[in-house]
């Protein structure tokens, strides 16, 4: 799956889970600091939804390492190979 396609899917998941009415345009640098609705609780809901959508599972350490969406997408690309 192309990186651009992954971002498109993630945008949709974020909009749905975080209830972002105005939509969102995620980039590699986007982090929880940039989106008010993205906190420790919604983070897990996001990860759950992403795992379900892509049919993969991340390890705890992987999840805790991510500093921004770019890191998340890198892990996702690794899993999808």
């Amino acid at each position: 799956m192309e990186r651009k396609e992954i971002f498109a899917v993630l945008n949709a998941i974020f909009e749905d889970v975080l209830d972002l009415e105005g939509g969102v345009d995620l980039t590699d640098e986007t982090s929880a600091n940039d989106i008010e609705e993205w906190d420790s609780l919604s983070h897990i809901q996001l990860v759950y939804a992403i795992q379900k959508k892509f049919g993969i599972k991340f390890s705890s350490l992987e999840i805790m390492k991510w500093k921004n969406v770019g890191d998340l997408v890198n892990s996702l690309e690794e899993k999808l190979k």
Partner: protein, 486 residues
């Protein structure tokens, strides 16, 4: 040496002068060395016997950090995990030994006695090293953050010591995280006049909060939990309502002073409070109260649990939240009251998780006439009552006293009598009203903050007024900071 003492003023004057001397002003390594030496001097005055513990544990974690990084670089993931676990075990072990061993052993002994096995446990009378709850948390955070690839190991042992032993915050926090603090040690901290003015303003408010509000309230409030039966319902209700304010003024007052002193040395210390009594529900309250502790436990206890319980959806979150808050409770000490306090708050989260109010963070906005909207105000008052109940459990010497206290507030026959001994709280009234007004303005009308106004004369008059206020209202029997006990 407490922050609000003449001795500290003298100590800090020396620290400040040498720190900004021409020889050290442009040399971060010299500044760090000076922070390290003065921090150990400061700690030695508080608890010199524990210097080996502080220095030793700092050295162990410094080495662990480098060993961990080496294994991570060689892709030995399971070894790396084991080293991190070792670090956590050592850190928690230090805390467990000093803080909880006696309590834990006594509980086991009474349990065994209860089933007929006669065991005696002579209390070891282990003395709690000053600041141990705070510096062990910094050390544990350090090793975990290296493992999570959020920081690199510290290159300089002196700087690392300066971070762990940092004297403004070693006794009672705030708990600075390595990724925010260590980078600051790498740069020169040049003196900045406007930062220094803001720092002094913060320290002044800290003094007013601690000595003008908290210490004066304490004279009437503290005695109530010692002998509940002696007091009327009115006494107990007054204490119930005032204690959260007293605790806030004491701890936030101290935190402000610590942050202010740190700022005078050019450091940006992490905040501890964000207007907690303007919280509209308990979840919001915990995002505003003792922030450096709750974010620490959220990052290292809640998040891993939350991930582990992911498949249990909202029930998983609830388990993680309850465990999180019980841990926060017990962090304060080895007493069932602290565990109960945590459990109580954890259970209060359940309706919030189900309703979704757990995470919604609507900004506070002024309503009609620029005041707090009625709906928000009533939620704040309701939250305050819930918090006050928890704080009664928190401060009681044991659980039965806590329930006795809460129940005795409903002795309607004694609602009209009041004990002597409330006299001193009069001194707290003006500072408290000013504090509430200050916080209200800062949240709802920040453009009207006195320190933001253009007229210098107004600022000077205000500062002079505050200084006089502190001088007039400060309680001379200034008691120890409440959070020195943790």
């Amino acid at each position: 040496m407490v922050v609000n003492s003449i001795n500290f003023l003298l100590f800090f004057a020396v620290v400040f002068i040498v720190y900004y001397l021409p020889v050290s002003r442009n040399n971060p390594k010299f500044q760090n060395l000076w922070v390290f030496l003065t921090s150990y001097f400061f700690y030695g005055l508080a608890d010199w016997k524990m210097i080996p513990l502080l220095l030793g544990s700092t050295a162990v974690f410094y080495l662990l950090g480098w060993w961990l990084k080496k294994e991570m670089n060689n892709n030995h993931a399971s070894t790396a995990s084991r080293i991190t676990t070792l670090g956590v075990v050592i850190g928690v072990g230090i805390l467990a030994y000093f803080k909880y061993l006696d309590f834990f052993a006594e509980q086991i002994a009474s349990l065994l006695n209860g089933i007929g096995l006669h065991i005696t446990w002579t209390t070891l009378n282990i003395v709690l090293p000053v600041g141990v709850s705070f510096f062990t948390f910094k050390l544990i955070s350090y090793i975990i953050e290296i493992h999570r690839e959020h920081i690199e190991p510290c290159r300089d042992f002196i700087s690392f010591n300066a971070y762990i032993a940092f004297f403004p915050t070693i006794l009672s926090g705030p708990i600075d995280r390595p990724y925010k603090f260590l980078p600051q040690l790498e740069k020169v901290r040049a003196f900045d006049y406007s930062t220094a003015v803001k720092a002094c303003y913060l320290i002044l408010w800290g003094l007013i909060m601690k000595m003008g509000i908290a210490d004066n309230l304490a004279t009437g409030v503290d005695r109530l939990v010692i002998n509940v039966g002696q007091y009327s319902a009115l006494d107990l209700i007054l204490g119930f309502v005032l204690y959260p304010i007293q605790l806030y003024a004491d701890f936030a007052g101290y935190s402000n002073m610590a942050i202010g002193v740190g700022a005078l040395l050019g450091f940006n210390v992490t905040p501890n409070f964000n207007y907690p009594f303007f919280a509209r529900n308990v979840a919001d309250f915990w995002r505003r109260w003792h922030i450096s502790l709750t974010t620490w436990i959220t990052d290292y206890v809640f998040t891993p649990l939350n991930i582990a319980f992911m498949n249990l959806q909202k029930w998983g979150v609830i388990f993680a939240v309850v465990i999180n808050l019980v841990v926060i409770g017990f962090w304060h000490g080895a007493n069932w009251t602290y565990g109960f306090f945590g459990l109580y708050h954890g259970l209060l989260f359940i309706p919030l998780v189900f309703s979704g109010a757990f995470s919604k963070k609507k900004k506070l906005k002024a309503g009609k006439f620029g005041l707090i909207p009625i709906k928000d105000l009533s939620m704040m008052l309701f939250t305050y009552i819930l918090v006050a109940i928890g704080h009664t459990i928190f401060r009681a010497p044991d659980v039965s006293t806590a329930f006795n206290y809460l129940g005795s507030m409903f002795n309607f026959s004694s609602l009209t009598s009041i004990s002597d001994g409330w006299g001193m709280i009069i001194y707290a009234v003006v500072p408290l009203i000013l504090l509430i007004m200050k916080e209200f303005v800062e949240i709802y009308h920040p453009k009207f903050r006195v320190m933001e106004l253009r007229y210098k004369a107004v600022k000077y008059i205000w500062i002079l007024f505050l200084f006089t206020l502190w001088f007039v209202t400060q309680n001379q029997d200034s008691s120890k900071f409440i959070y020195f006990n943790f």
